[in-house]
Symmetry: C2
Subunit: 210 residues, 2 copies
């Protein structure tokens, strides 16, 4: 049986991936856990502990091979596969995320946007078509969709998510201002709450000004 890895560890993995990617860009081939720890501002023992969850990757005294570790963490994160994303909501946020081409480098491809606003019908964002919501069912039947991103009002988020699950979508990237609580717990949900992060910032401002 596979060991359950905590979400706290998983949350740190993209950060490792990001830092290793920067090291690669700089042409660094090998790094000790101490140097990596200094750069990432976490303890070396934290790094060793985190990576041991996946079997280690380091050789005592030799540090980590950057390219190998980068690729292995990429595989752990599923970045060796392509994920098709549809964007539900083609307002500013939906269009902003669609324009963020950097995701494509990691295998996340936005294939279509959907909205209810008739004036958006037939328009495109970076050549990616905007469809009307009543075309969603048909689209999902004819195309492979791995992830639905929700950038729509919170009042519509729950029902729309449920509808997407009924259409066979197994993963939701939710920007609506609500924690999605789907009846099918095997559906993967990642909530991005921008206000939460702003409030955390605000807490630390108040704390620092004391």
């Amino acid at each position: 049986m596979e060991k359950e890895i905590s979400q706290a560890v998983i949350r740190r993995m993209p950060r490792y991936y990001r830092y290793l990617g920067e090291l690669l860009e700089e042409g660094v081939e090998r790094i000790s856990s101490n140097d990596l720890s200094h750069r990432m501002m976490v303890t070396a023992s934290q790094i060793r502990q985190d990576l041991n969850n996946f079997g280690g990757f380091g050789q005592q005294g030799y540090g980590y091979n950057v390219k190998y570790l980068y690729d292995e963490i990429g595989k752990i994160l599923g970045l060796n596969e392509t994920h098709n994303i549809i964007m539900i909501g083609a307002g500013n946020l939906g269009q902003a995320i669609t324009n963020y081409v950097k995701f494509e480098r990691f295998g996340f491809i936005i294939t279509a946007l959907f909205d209810v606003k008739p004036s958006l019908k037939g328009q495109t964002v970076r050549d990616i078509p905007i469809y009307m919501m009543d075309e969603l069912d048909d689209y999902c039947k004819k195309n492979k969709v791995d992830i639905a991103a929700l950038t729509l009002p919170k009042e519509k988020a729950e029902d729309t998510a449920q509808h997407l699950v009924n259409l066979g979508i197994r993963a939701i990237w939710n920007f609506a201002h609500v924690d999605l609580d789907l009846s099918d717990k095997s559906v993967v949900v990642e909530n991005v709450h921008l206000s939460d992060s702003l409030m955390q910032l605000s807490y630390n401002i108040v704390k620092n000004s004391k």
Copy 2:
């Protein structure tokens, strides 16, 4: 001396605030930690522990007064004060966040955007003016700025952040794809990495498909 509260607790506070806000909208006046726990999908003891960091707020056997707890958590998060935000970068993401009026309800007011693209000069987003970057110093001298939000390429993020700190800005909400490492550690930084959240989603997709 005030007790240092862990960032893990702080990260959960906006979520409490959000759920209590929903209860208020529904007209709920009082809630037990058990009911709140059920709704938020965390344990009741976690809730009691978290809130005890700030002195409790509950009466044994009587549960929590929703309005009171909502207001108190709002104060803890600094939401009883207004925070002026400038947006550095008026591309899609900068404009999307500026259009997200919901932040204003919590006292976060975007007062200006800045960009280097000459075609944006003199334009507005929701009547909020877009200025050119060479007007930044003057703007910061004449206006109260609490938070700078960065939606600009990662190559420019570090230098721009340092420049903002030199102008007296004490808090940075960073959307650039890099962890800001400022020399002045008293500056509050909150990094929002959208790719990280997408990678976490992808990890859970792979895990579930096994």
